[in-house]
C-alpha cells in the first residue's frame, strides 16, 4: 500500500459585520426573515440601478487582511463575474479578479504558517428553494433575495494544509481571528463563515499536486472535519483501485455523512470577468491603512504565546482563552486583580466559557480567592458565580448573605460520616470487598446531607472510618 499525503487549500467566505448590504442600503436580514423582505431595487437588480460600495465592508476586509499580514495595494477594483442563475439578480456577481483588496498573507497555526493567497470582497447571491430536488428537475422554484448583495470576504489559502485536523484548526483559527478583530461574528451555523476545502492526495514525497475536488454545503467545524475525512478516504479508494479522481465540486450530505458529485469542473466555466464600469477603482489611502493597522488588537496567536509564556497556562487552556477576546481580557483582568493564573484559567474554561456570561474581572478574582483560601466549597462557588453574573454583586456579599462556608473540621464531619456509613450498607460492603469506586456513593450522600463539607477532608475521613 502506498503512503498518501493529503493536500488541502481552503476557500472561506466570511460575512463581515456590517449594518447594510455590500452595494445598497438594505439592512442585513435576520435568520428566518420572510422571503424577499430585505430587498430594494438595487439588490433586486432592477433596470437602471447602480451599486455603491459599503465602506464598513471595505474596512472589515482591510482589517482582516492586515490581521492576516497581507500586502495591501494602493489601488484595488471590482470586477463583474458573469453567469446566469436565478439566484443572481443582475446576471453577474460583483467580485474582485486581478486586483484584489489584498494578497500574500499568512495565518499562524499551532506554530506553523499557512500561506494566504488573497482576501477579497464580493457580494452574496440569493437563495433558491425547489419543489423537487434541484433546479433543472424542480416543477417549481422559489427565489429569496434577502441574502442577495450581502457582503462577503473571500479568504483563499495556499494548499498548505495536510490533514482534516489542520483544516478544521485553520477554520477555527480564522474564526478566532475574525472575532478578535471584530471583523465578523463568523458563526458557521448562521452561514457567516462558509468553508470550502479543495482536497487532493498524492503519493508521499511527490511534489506534483493531484486532481482536486472542492467540497460545499459544510455548516459546522465537525462537518468540515468529517467531510474531509470522507473525501480523503474516497479519493484513496479511487486511486488505489486504479481509477482517477474527477475534478469536480462535491456536496457534503449531513444526513448521509458522505460527499456526492454536484458539478463537473472538467470544462471550466468562462465567467468573462471585466472591470465593473459602475464602480471607479478604489484608492486605498495608506494613512487609513496605517490607522487600521495600529488599531488592531493583539491577535489570538500572539496572545496564546503570551498566556503560555507569561502566565504558565497549559496550551489547551491558553488556546480556548486566546481564541475569544472577551475571555482573554477577562483572564488577564482577573490575574491583574490578584487571582492565581492557573485557577483563574480553570474557572474561565470550566465555568465561564460554557455559559458565555462573563463576570467582572474583580468579582471573578474575589471568587477564586474565596475558593483557594478554603472559605467556600467549589459547588458553593459555582452558585455564587451564577448569582454574581446575574446581579453584579460581589461574591463576598453573596457568600455572607447565604451564609456559605466550608466545613473542613474533621470532628464536625465525623457524625455525618458515620450516619452515611450506617445508611449505605451495600456500598460499604462493596468497598470493603475491593470495589474502591463505591466510595463515590458515600461521598454523594455525605455532600447531599452537608453541602458545605470540604470534599477532600470528607473523603479522607470516610476512607479512615471504613478502613
Amino acid at each position: 500500500m502506498p503512503e498518501w499525503e493529503v493536500v488541502i487549500g481552503m476557500e472561506v467566505h466570511v460575512q463581515p459585520k456590517t449594518r447594510s448590504k455590500m452595494f445598497c442600503g438594505c439592512a442585513i436580514a435576520p435568520l428566518n426573515a420572510p422571503p424577499n423582505s430585505y430587498v430594494c431595487e438595487v439588490c433586486l437588480g432592477m433596470p437602471g440601478v447602480l451599486p455603491v460600495v459599503n465602506r464598513a465592508a471595505v474596512e472589515a476586509c482591510l482589517k482582516t487582511a492586515l490581521a492576516l499580514r497581507c500586502e495591501i495595494p494602493r489601488h484595488t477594483k471590482f470586477d463583474r463575474k458573469n453567469y446566469m442563475y436565478p439566484d443572481l439578480p443582475k446576471g453577474y456577481q460583483i467580485s474582485q479578479y486581478d486586483l484584489p483588496m489584498s494578497r500574500n498573507g499568512q495565518l499562524e497555526l499551532n506554530g506553523r504558517r499557512v500561506r494566504i493567497r488573497r482576501v477579497h470582497l464580493e457580494e452574496d447571491t440569493g437563495k433558491l428553494v425547489h419543489a423537487g430536488d434541484k433546479l433543472h428537475k424542480a416543477w417549481e422554484s422559489f427565489v429569496d433575495l434577502n441574502r442577495a448583495g450581502v457582503p462577503l470576504m473571500e479568504i483563499v489559502s495556499e494548499p498548505d494544509l495536510r490533514s482534516a485536523d489542520e483544516a478544521r484548526d485553520y477554520a477555527m483559527g480564522l474564526r478566532a481571528l475574525l472575532r478578535t478583530i471584530g471583523a465578523s461574528e463568523a458563526d458557521m451555523e448562521k452561514g457567516q463563515l462558509r468553508a470550502e476545502p479543495n482536497i487532493s492526495i498524492r503519493r508521499s514525497g511527490s511534489q506534483e499536486l493531484g486532481v482536486k475536488t472542492e467540497l460545499k454545503n459544510i455548516n459546522s467545524f465537525r462537518a468540515l472535519h468529517r467531510a474531509i475525512g470522507y473525501e480523503v478516504a474516497r479519493q484513496r479508494e479511487v486511486l488505489e483501485s486504479g481509477g482517477h479522481v474527477v475534478q469536480e465540486t462535491r456536496g457534503w450530505s449531513e444526513d448521509e455523512q458522505r460527499t456526492f458529485s454536484q458539478r463537473s469542473k472538467e470544462f471550466a466555466e468562462d465567467y468573462r470577468y471585466f472591470p465593473e464600469p459602475d464602480l471607479p477603482p478604489l484608492e486605498l489611502d495608506p494613512s487609513w491603512i496605517e490607522e487600521l493597522r495600529l488599531a488592531l488588537p493583539e491577535l489570538p496567536a500572539a496572545r496564546h504565546g503570551r498566556l503560555v509564556a507569561q502566565h504558565g497556562l497549559p496550551p489547551g487552556d491558553a488556546a480556548l482563552i486566546s481564541e475569544n477576546r472577551e475571555l482573554a481580557d477577562l483572564f488577564e483582568g482577573t490575574v491583574a486583580a490578584g487571582a492565581p493564573a492557573r485557577q483563574a484559567a480553570n474557572w474561565i474554561v470550566g465555568e465561564v466559557a460554557p455559559t458565555g456570561k462573563l463576570p467582572s474581572a474583580e468579582n471573578l478574582a474575589e471568587l477564586v480567592r474565596l475558593v483557594v483560601e478554603g472559605g467556600i466549597t467549589r459547588d458553593q462557588a459555582k452558585e455564587v458565580l451564577i448569582e454574581s453574573v446575574e446581579t453584579g454583586r460581589t461574591p463576598a456579599e453573596i457568600v455572607a448573605e447565604h451564609g456559605y462556608r466550608q466545613i473542613s473540621d474533621e470532628s464536625e464531619l465525623r457524625v455525618i460520616a458515620e450516619a452515611v456509613i450506617d445508611a449505605n450498607p451495600k456500598a460499604v460492603a462493596d468497598y470493603r470487598s475491593g470495589k474502591k469506586q463505591a466510595i463515590g456513593v458515600l461521598i454523594r450522600d455525605l455532600t447531599a446531607r452537608a453541602p458545605q463539607a470540604n470534599r477532600k477532608v470528607a473523603n479522607e475521613l470516610l476512607v479512615k472510618l471504613l478502613g
Partner: protein, 490 residues
C-alpha cells in the same frame, strides 16, 4: 388666456415669462402640447405612451408654486422623457418588448431633479431598443418619423425625444447619449442636443446600455433651454459612484460671453470621414466662417486615432451591454417565457423573443469580446485605444478651447435605407462617439440645411467644459440667426 396654437413654439424662458405674468397657466401650456400631439403624433410617432395622471398633478402643483411666487426656470414646463429613464409607476421599457409592462418602483435621479424643479411630464418617447441604434428603427414597438420629412428617420437612439421637440410636442426632452444618441438625432431633427461630461449627470435610473459611456442630457429648441435643463439635472449623486463631486459646478459659468478671443479647433480627420456629405460640409464651413467673424480664432488640430474609434467603441459598448442586459432573464420582471420546460430554455426563449436583432447582435459581439482567449485581443486592446483617443483630445485641447465639426456625416436618411447594413448605421456615430470614449461634453446645434434637411454643428469641449461648449454654441446660434424652428410636419 390663449387658444394654445402659439404656445408650442416657445422657448423655456419665453414660456416662463408668460407663466410668471399669469397670462398662461401650466395646465394650459400642457394642454396646448397635448392638443398638438393629438394632431401630429399619429404621423411623427415620437411618443410610446403618455402620462396624464402625472401631467395633471404636476401642472396643478406648478401653478400653485407660480402663484406663490416660488417658480423656478423649469416650473410648469412640459417635458418628454426617453423610454430608458425610470419613472416610478410609469411603464418604462427601454424600447424593448422584453420590458413590456415593467413599471419601475423608483424614479431616477435626473428625472427626479427635474420634477422637483417643477417640470411637467407629458409622456415617454420612443427610442432604439436599449438605446442601440442611430435611427429609432430598432424600437421594439414602431419607428419614429422625422418631422421635417416623415419618410426619413429622426436619428437615434433618442429619436423620439428629438422628434417630439422638433414637432413642438414637448418644450424639452431628455435623451441619453452613449455614442451620439442625443447629438445625432438633434442634428437630424434640427434641434439642440447636449451630452454632458461623463459623471456630470447621475445615471441612477438610466437603464444601462454601456455604463462607461452613457450620459443623460437635454434636447431643446435653443442653447439656453438646453443649458437651463442641464444645470438643473447636474450634480453629484450619492447613488451613482461614477457621478463626480465636481458635477455641480460651472455649467452656466460665463456661457453667454460670446466667442471673441476663443481658439476653436478644427480637426482635419473629422472633415475627411468616410461618407461625409458635401452639403453637410458646406453648412459646417459656413458656420466656421460665422464663428471667425464673431472673433474666434480657428486652429488646425489633429485627432490621429479617429479611425480606430469606431472599432474600439463597437467592442467596449457591446462588451458592457452583454453584461448589463444579462438581468433580463424573465425571472423577476418584464417578459417571461413561462411554458419553457426548464430554466435554461426559459432564459433562451425569453431573450430570443424579447430582444430585437440588433440587441442580440451586440450581446453576442460583447460576449465574444470578453471570452477567455479573446479578452486581451479585443476588450483590452479596445481599452488601450480608448486611452489613446483620450490623449488625442488632451493634446488637441492644449491648442484650442473647443473642437468644431459636423455632428453627423449625413442629413436624415430615408426610413429603411440602412437597416440591412449594420455597419453603415454604425458609421452615423463616427463623429460623436469619440466624445463618449473620452468622456467629454458635446453639443449639437442647428447650422442650416442641406437639401432642405437640418444639419448639426458639433462643439466638443474638455472635461467639465460644459460652459465652454454652451458658450460656443450660443454664440453661433445668436450670430447665425439659425433657430430651431418647430417643424411643420410634411
Amino acid at each position: 388666456m390663449s387658444d394654445g396654437s402659439d404656445l408650442t413654439g416657445l422657448t423655456i424662458q419665453e414660456a416662463g415669462r408668460l407663466l410668471r405674468l399669469g397670462s398662461v397657466s401650466a395646465a394650459e401650456l400642457v394642454t396646448a402640447h397635448v392638443a398638438r400631439i393629438e394632431r401630429l403624433d399619429s404621423h411623427v410617432k415620437a411618443f410610446l405612451r403618455f402620462t396624464p395622471e402625472l401631467w395633471e398633478k404636476q401642472a396643478e402643483v406648478a401653478d400653485r408654486r407660480i402663484r406663490a411666487g416660488e417658480a423656478g426656470p423649469l416650473t410648469g414646463i412640459p417635458i418628454a422623457v426617453k423610454d430608458v429613464l425610470c419613472v416610478r409607476g410609469v411603464e418604462t421599457t427601454a424600447g424593448s418588448k422584453i420590458l413590456r409592462g415593467f413599471k419601475p418602483p423608483y424614479t431616477g435621479t435626473a428625472v427626479s431633479r427635474l420634477f422637483e424643479a417643477g417640470a411637467v411630464m407629458i409622456g415617454v418617447t420612443n427610442c432604439d431598443e436599449f438605446a442601440m441604434g442611430s435611427s429609432t428603427e430598432n424600437s421594439g414597438y414602431f419607428p419614429t418619423h422625422n418631422p421635417w420629412d416623415l419618410a426619413r428617420v429622426p436619428g437615434g437612439s433618442s429619436g423620439g425625444s428629438a422628434a417630439a421637440v422638433a414637432a413642438g410636442e414637448a418644450m424639452v426632452a431628455l435623451g441619453t447619449d452613449t455614442g451620439g444618441s442625443i447629438r445625432q438625432p438633434a442634428a437630424l431633427c434640427g434641434v439642440v442636443g447636449m451630452k454632458p461630461t461623463y459623471g456630470r449627470v447621475s445615471r441612477y435610473g438610466l437603464i444601462a446600455f454601456a455604463s462607461s459611456l452613457d450620459q443623460i442630457g437635454p434636447l431643446a429648441r435653443c442653447v439656453d433651454d438646453a443649458a437651463i435643463t442641464l444645470s438643473l439635472m447636474a450634480g453629484h449623486d450619492p447613488l451613482d459612484a461614477t457621478s463626480s463631486e465636481r458635477a455641480g459646478i460651472e455649467v452656466l459659468n460665463n456661457y453667454d460671453r460670446g466667442v471673441k478671443g476663443m481658439r476653436l479647433g478644427v480637426p482635419r480627420e473629422y472633415f475627411e470621414v468616410e461618407g461625409i456629405e458635401p452639403g453637410v460640409k458646406a453648412a459646417v464651413d459656413a458656420a466656421l466662417f460665422i464663428l471667425r467673424r464673431e472673433g474666434a480664432e480657428l486652429v488646425d488640430v489633429s485627432l490621429p486615432h479617429t479611425d480606430y474609434g469606431l472599432a474600439a467603441y463597437y467592442i467596449i459598448a457591446p462588451a458592457e451591454c452583454s453584461s448589463n442586459l444579462a438581468r433580463y432573464d424573465g425571472v423577476r420582471y418584464g417578459m417571461s417565457e413561462e411554458d419553457a420546460p426548464n430554466v435554461t430554455e426559459m432564459y433562451m426563449e425569453t431573450r430570443r423573443k424579447g430582444f430585437g436583432s440588433e440587441v442580440r447582435r451586440r450581446v453576442m459581439l460583447g460576449t465574444y469580446a470578453l471570452s477567455s482567449g479573446y479578452y486581451d485581443a479585443y476588450y483590452l486592446k479596445a481599452q488601450k485605444v480608448r486611452t489613446l483617443i483620450k490623449r488625442d483630445f488632451d493634446l488637441a485641447f492644449e491648442k484650442c478651447d473647443a473642437i468644431i465639426s459636423a455632428t453627423s456625416p449625413t442629413v436624415a436618411f430615408p426610413i429603411g435605407s440602412k437597416t440591412q447594413d449594420p455597419l453603415s448605421m454604425y458609421l452615423c456615430d463616427v463623429l460623436t462617439l469619440g466624445g463618449n470614449l473620452a468622456g467629454l461634453p458635446g453639443i449639437s446645434v442647428p447650422c442650416g440645411t442641406s437639401d432642405g434637411l437640418p444639419v448639426g454643428l458639433q462643439v466638443l469641449g474638455p472635461q467639465w467644459g460644459e460652459n465652454v461648449v454652451l458658450r460656443v454654441a450660443r454664440a453661433y446660434e445668436q450670430a447665425s440667426g439659425v433657430k430651431a424652428e418647430v417643424a411643420g410636419v410634411a
